[in-house]
Every structure is written in structure tokens, then in C-alpha cells.
Symmetry: C2
Subunit: 420 residues, 2 copies
């Protein structure tokens, strides 16, 4: 048997022990894991220095290097995030529905853990702790396969967390860090259909496509967020401009940032000049269609590609539309099923937009930047799904469980006549 | 573009129209589909005769031929099943949770259709109508790929149903029957990741494994049901015998029939002789372990394989266990995550069993035969999932939808300071 299969089997066995834990036992464990991270701070930061040196030697810089970097403050943030997961409600055992059938059997739908979750991720070492915490909170085992660029940091973080698990008298294999980073080993992990219940890739589009193509286990993923703001003809234009600036300029590098602005032609002349001026004051480059360019001087022409782009940068594509139907049609063609926003004071338009748009999150008069597990009340988030199955949108601990049936009777059978 | 891709794209576009329909419009459509089946009864039965003749010429007989056979009564049953689906609650638009966040944004979790569902199935022509009805009820498009043995029946049924869809002014592509039955065409369908949202295989283990291996779209499936009854030391033994006979002998060929009986050793001597006598009176062959054979003469020895077998026949594997832990361990090793039953009057034992067993359905003092969408209150059933993701256990119309987020605000943003 290969090492990775052996590790995965050990994780599955350990997951069984985690699934049985009480809420208090899990929360105590999460707090011990936070304390273990703090106790190992020096070792973790030293390990991170090794990763950073290797990255710099390879010419890594900018945002990539920043994502890899740990410092005492960031490490404290990771430990606190574990304590916050301890404070979240426990989804396991939650009874979501009860029904007594005419024959007297009592049916409950009860949440149970998924089993073993494989996280495949890049760069950010905090994912090692965050994902472990959420998976354990939901009663699962977790197999963590981070990137080679963060291997020393991930190993040091995992060592601290595993010690906390062992010290609690639990099998440390419940949290398994894959240290063999060969691609073929990852592929094998992704094909262990009888052991791994779910794979969640987090990282660049290349990684996510690789996981999707090679996995035989279920995968929940999102490729990109091409989020739209549609300014309706009955919009409060001052409110719409607030949503626009917050959506585009507050943190352009995240998946819930706006990438395209659609404006109803009846309000375009009133909205666009001031809105684009405000965007420019925040260093946003605007690329527009003919109508936008006719209204505002100096706007570059948007290409067809611009309307499908996740810029992750201070760039915005703008288009003037004839009506709400054209806006919906545009989003249907170019959208990524992530998050769309309508600014409108007309309740009928808002409802029509909600119904016609099939994205995971639809906002009415609220910023796309709220499309986030924390902001939507899930507590921490393990990812955002644009897979329309199981979970759609931000995924918290509950998304790491599934409902099953528990039936209690008093000897009911289906074929009484057989028993006579 | 290949034909199958073109058909799938047309189905996706049509699904968009179905997703927007009101509950009344969908229910009217389902009733019209039932009427269309009745109007076409002669044509459908003639087509079925073609399939039956071809099957007989190939030497098909027994249960397989029976599953393929339609007659006026069965056809009436299929039409009535459509009317029953019309009576079910509509899962689309269901608000499952509401929350207002401290910043005032109001969050709803709302069910929406999955999009396009591909059903891959064998033999039974009723699946063509049943699956179409449930998928449409849940606002989805459906692509039906039945087996070659039922192609004439399926085509005639689909023609009637599609006419009803067209007559309602809706795009008939919402229900697409694949007539090109080459394996490579099915594989292509299963890899249309941007078009097909879910594949559900129904049929023999070979078909299901083929679909799982070749699909790139999400698959929900179950391979087999190896259902267990555990008779606890505190069981009501008369009640336990009722569950045993109903579970094993009422319909042995279905996936929720019992395959293995586990008996606590403290009650084995009191339970097994009478129970096995009653089983034998119903023509059930018993294969047991050493302890069972010591208690009851004439019991054949059970092999290790017998404990993992889905007999789908009047055969039962029996084992005497030391305690509930050994029963749980046995089920964990040999079970199929489908349905397990405990007979016990001890509430603590029952809770322990429920918690330790991770099957989709756990029954306390009720027959395994209730593990069925209709019996568990789901109305019709599109399949039973032993995939611990999205849906686990019997799947009704609701399992063909997913929750998404709808957020309503009054201009809330995340970074107020950016707007000044």
C-alpha cells in the first residue's frame, strides 16, 4: 500500500473518533490548538523564514510573497481564528426537521460529519490552521496538501496542532499534513474514492482545474468571481455609487470585488460621470462601451474579454444596458455564478433580478464585499462554492456536514400480512 | 460542436425557462404530461412490444424482462405518479433561514434549481417519466439517457411528455432524451462540466461504476444496500422478529432489504431458533457463524464474502456478537452506508448505535424497508444517495435544488472610510 493511502486510511479511522466527540471536547481541542501555535511561535516563524528565503531566491515578490509571510501579529491572528471557530455553533447533531408519519414512525433529519476532507491549497500557511479547525469543528478528519513554497511553515504549524490533538488523547492522524508534494501523490489522494469524502481546492485557477480534472472524489470549488453591479433606472444613485466604490476599490484583489458595472441607460448620464470621477480619484482604470465613452471622456474601449475578466486589480469594465433584461442577459453570459448586486429602489425589479440571476449570492442595495462567510454569519469560511451542489456560496462549518435520516418506531413494518 | 453538446446546451437554455415557472405552472405542466401519456397509451405500448420482442430474441427473461414490461395498468401507474409529483410541495423558492446582521443587511437562504440533471439508467421505462417529473418539479432541465433495451419505449414516452411541454409554450429541450446510445456519447455527456450540474446513475453496479469513473460532472450514486439488523440484548424479541421478517422476506430484491442479522449473544439462544424457523417458513436460506450454527441445526456456514454481500435474494447472513460495539464494528467494516436497524428497548443503546453508525438511514425499532423516499415523507424519489455530500439517503425533489444567499440592504458597505 502506498504511503498516501496508508495516511488517508489512518485519517479515516481517526475521523471516526472526532465524529463522536462532544461539542465541548471539540471546542477545548480547538483552544488547545491555539495555545500550541502560540507556544511554538518561534519555531513557526523560523520555519517561515526558510520558506521566505527560498521564495526570494526563486524571485518571488509582491502579493505572492506577502501571502506567504508570517509575523508575530499574523500568527496571533491565526491562533485567535482557532478560538473563534471554538465559539461557533456545532453543526453536528443539529436536527433540521422532524416529522411523524401516519404509521407512527418518527423521522428526524440530523447533521453528521462528511468524514474525511482533503484541502488542496497554495501559498497561505494560515489555511493549514483555518481548514484544520473548521474540519475538526464539524467532526471530520482533514488531509492538508499545501504548496511546496510553504512546506516549512505548514510543517511547523501542523506539528503544533498535532501535538494538541495527541495531548487531548485523540489520534493525531485526524489532521494529516501531506509532506510528499509530488503531483502524482496528489492525484492518488484525489482518487481515493472509498476514503476521501470531499476535496476542496483553494488557490489559483491552474490548481483548481488540475484538481477538478484529476479527482474522482467529489470536488467543491470556485474558479473565479466576476461580480457585477447593475444600477437600475430606479436606483438611488448616491447609494449605487457607495456600492460601486466599496465593491471595486476597497480590496480589488479578492473574489468578491466588483469587476463589471452595468448601468440602465435612463440613468447613465446622471450616474456615470460622477461615478467614474470618484473611481478615478481612487486610481481605478475604467474600460467602457460606446455609450459610456460618449458620456465620459478618456474612457478606454472595453473588449469582449474585459467583460469576462476577473481583474483582481483596480480596473473596471462598464456597460450601458437598455433595460434590466439586457443586464440579466449580460450577467448570464459573462458571470461566474459568484455574486451579483442590483441597486434599485423598485421592489419588483429587485425580485425579478433575484429570480433571474442564478449566482450563489445576490445582493439588493448591499456591497458585493459582504459575500464572505464571516459577513454572512457563517463564522469562519472554508471556501466559496460556485458548484451548484451541496453548498453554493460561502461555506462554513455546516457545509462540512450532511443531513441523514434517523427513524424511531415501535416495531412498524411495511408488510404486516407477511408476519401472520 | 457535437450533437450531444448541442442538445445539452439547448437543455440548459430551456432549464432557465423552467427555473422561472410558478408552482402552479409547473404543476399544470405535470398534469398535462400525465394526460399526454394516457393519450399516447397505444403508441407507447406498441413501442414497448418492440423492445420486449428484441429482448426476448436476445434471451432476456425473468426479472429483467419484467422490469422492461409495460401494460395498460403500469402505464396508468406512471401517469398517476406524475400527478402525485404535481401534488408535492415545490422546493424552489423555499426560504430555509433568515437572519439580520448587526449592520442591518438581511440574509435569506433560498432554494434554487440545480440547473441541468443527467439521468443515466437501465431497463425500467418508467424512470423516463418519473425522473423527468421530479427534475421539472424542482425547476431543472433533464437529460435522460436510458438503456438500449428500452429505447423504443423511452422514445415513445418522451415524445408524449415533450409534446405536453411544447403545448404549454415551453421549450421541449427542457426534457431531452438521448437517442445516440454509444458509450462515447455518454462519456462526453458526463464530461460537460460547464453544462451539466449533476449526473445520477440508476441501475446495476457496472453502470454506476462506469459513470463514476468517466464523469467529470458531480455524480450522486449508491452502489448497493447491505442493510443490517442488530438485535440488542435489551430488544423486544417479538418486535425484532417482525423487523427481521419484513426486512428480509417482504421484497428481497430491493436495496432496503436486510442482508445481515447481528444478534447479541445474551439473547441469541432465545431469539435465533424461532427467528430462523420463521425465516425458513418464508423460504429464506440462512448462513451463519459458529455460534449461530451451534444454536440452530442445519444452518450453512457463512463466508467472509457473505457478510459483505447484497444478496437481493432470499438469503440472510447471521452472526452472534459479543456486544453492541462488536455489532457497530461489524457494520463499519461490511456496511454500505445505506440503512441499518437496531432493535432495542434501551434508549442509551439506541442512541449509541445512532451516533456510531454513519449510514444514511438509521432505524430504531422500525423496518429497514421504510428507507424509501415515499415512506420517509419525500413523496417521489429520484434515487438513494450513499455519497456523503449534498444528499445522503433517499432523494426527493428538494435534493434537486440547492440553497443560495439573497441579501437585502440599504446601501451597506464594508469600508465606509473609503467613501469620504
Amino acid at each position: 500500500m502506498t504511503d498516501i493511502k496508508q495516511q488517508a486510511l489512518a485519517c479515516r479511522d481517526a475521523a471516526h473518533a472526532i465524529a463522536q466527540l462532544s461539542t465541548d471536547a471539540k471546542n477545548d481541542l480547538l483552544r488547545s490548538m491555539a495555545a500550541a501555535l502560540e507556544a511554538d511561535a518561534d519555531a513557526i516563524l523560523r520555519a517561515n523564514q526558510q520558506d521566505l528565503q527560498a521564495a526570494k531566491a526563486k524571485g518571488t515578490a509582491g502579493a505572492m510573497l506577502d501571502r506567504l509571510t508570517l509575523d508575530p501579529q499574523r500568527l496571533a491572528g491565526i491562533a485567535n481564528a482557532l478560538r473563534e471557530v471554538a465559539e461557533l455553533p456545532d453543526p453536528v447533531g443539529l436536527v433540521t426537521r422532524r416529522e411523524v408519519r401516519p404509521n407512527g414512525i418518527a423521522i428526524e433529519r440530523v447533521r453528521i460529519p462528511l468524514g474525511v476532507v482533503a484541502m488542496i491549497y497554495e501559498a497561505r500557511p494560515n489555511v493549514t490552521a483555518d481548514a484544520a479547525a473548521l474540519c475538526l469543528k464539524a467532526g471530520n478528519g482533514v488531509i492538508l496538501r499545501g504548496g511546496s513554497e510553504a512546506i516549512h511553515s505548514n510543517t511547523a504549524i501542523a506539528a503544533a496542532l498535532k501535538r494538541a490533538i495527541s495531548d487531548a488523547g485523540l489520534p493525531a492522524a485526524a489532521m494529516t499534513l501531506v509532506e510528499d508534494l509530488r503531483r502524482e501523490t496528489m492525484v492518488e489522494l484525489l482518487q481515493l474514492t472509498d476514503i476521501v469524502d470531499l476535496a476542496i481546492p483553494r488557490g489559483g485557477e491552474g490548481l483548481i482545474r488540475f484538481v477538478s480534472e484529476h479527482a474522482r472524489v467529489p470536488v467543491i470549488k470556485h474558479y473565479k468571481g466576476v461580480c457585477h453591479l447593475y444600477v437600475d433606472k430606479q436606483a438611488d444613485l448616491a447609494l449605487a455609487q457607495r456600492l460601486l466604490l466599496d465593491g471595486k476599490a476597497s480590496r480589488p484583489g479578492v473574489c468578491n470585488a466588483l469587476e463589471t458595472l452595468l448601468v440602465h441607460r435612463d440613468v447613465a448620464a446622471r450616474f456615470l460621470p460622477a461615478a467614474i470621477e470618484a473611481l478615478r480619484a481612487r486610481k481605478v482604470e475604467v474600460r467602457g462601451d460606446q455609450a459610456t465613452r460618449a458620456l465620459v471622456p478618456g474612457v478606454a474601449a472595453a473588449s469582449e474579454d474585459d467583460y469576462a475578466a476577473e481583474f483582481l486589480d483596480l480596473i473596471l469594465a462598464v456597460r450601458v444596458v437598455d433595460d434590466i433584461d439586457q443586464a440579466i442577459e449580460h450577467i448570464r453570459r459573462h458571470g461566474s455564478d459568484h455574486t451579483e448586486v442590483i441597486a434599485s429602489e423598485d421592489a419588483a425589479s429587485a425580485e425579478r433580478f433575484i429570480k433571474a440571476i442564478r449566482s450563489a449570492v445576490v445582493m439588493v442595495n448591499a456591497s458585493s464585499r459582504f459575500s464572505d462567510g464571516g459577513e454572512l454569519g457563517l463564522g469562519a469560511e472554508i471556501g466559496i462554492s460556485t458548484t451548484r451542489l451541496h453548498s453554493y456560496g460561502p461555506m462554513g462549518a455546516e457545509s462540512l456536514t450532511v443531513e441523514r435520516f434517523v427513524v424511531r418506531g415501535e416495531g412498524q413494518v411495511r408488510h404486516e400480512d407477511l408476519l401472520g
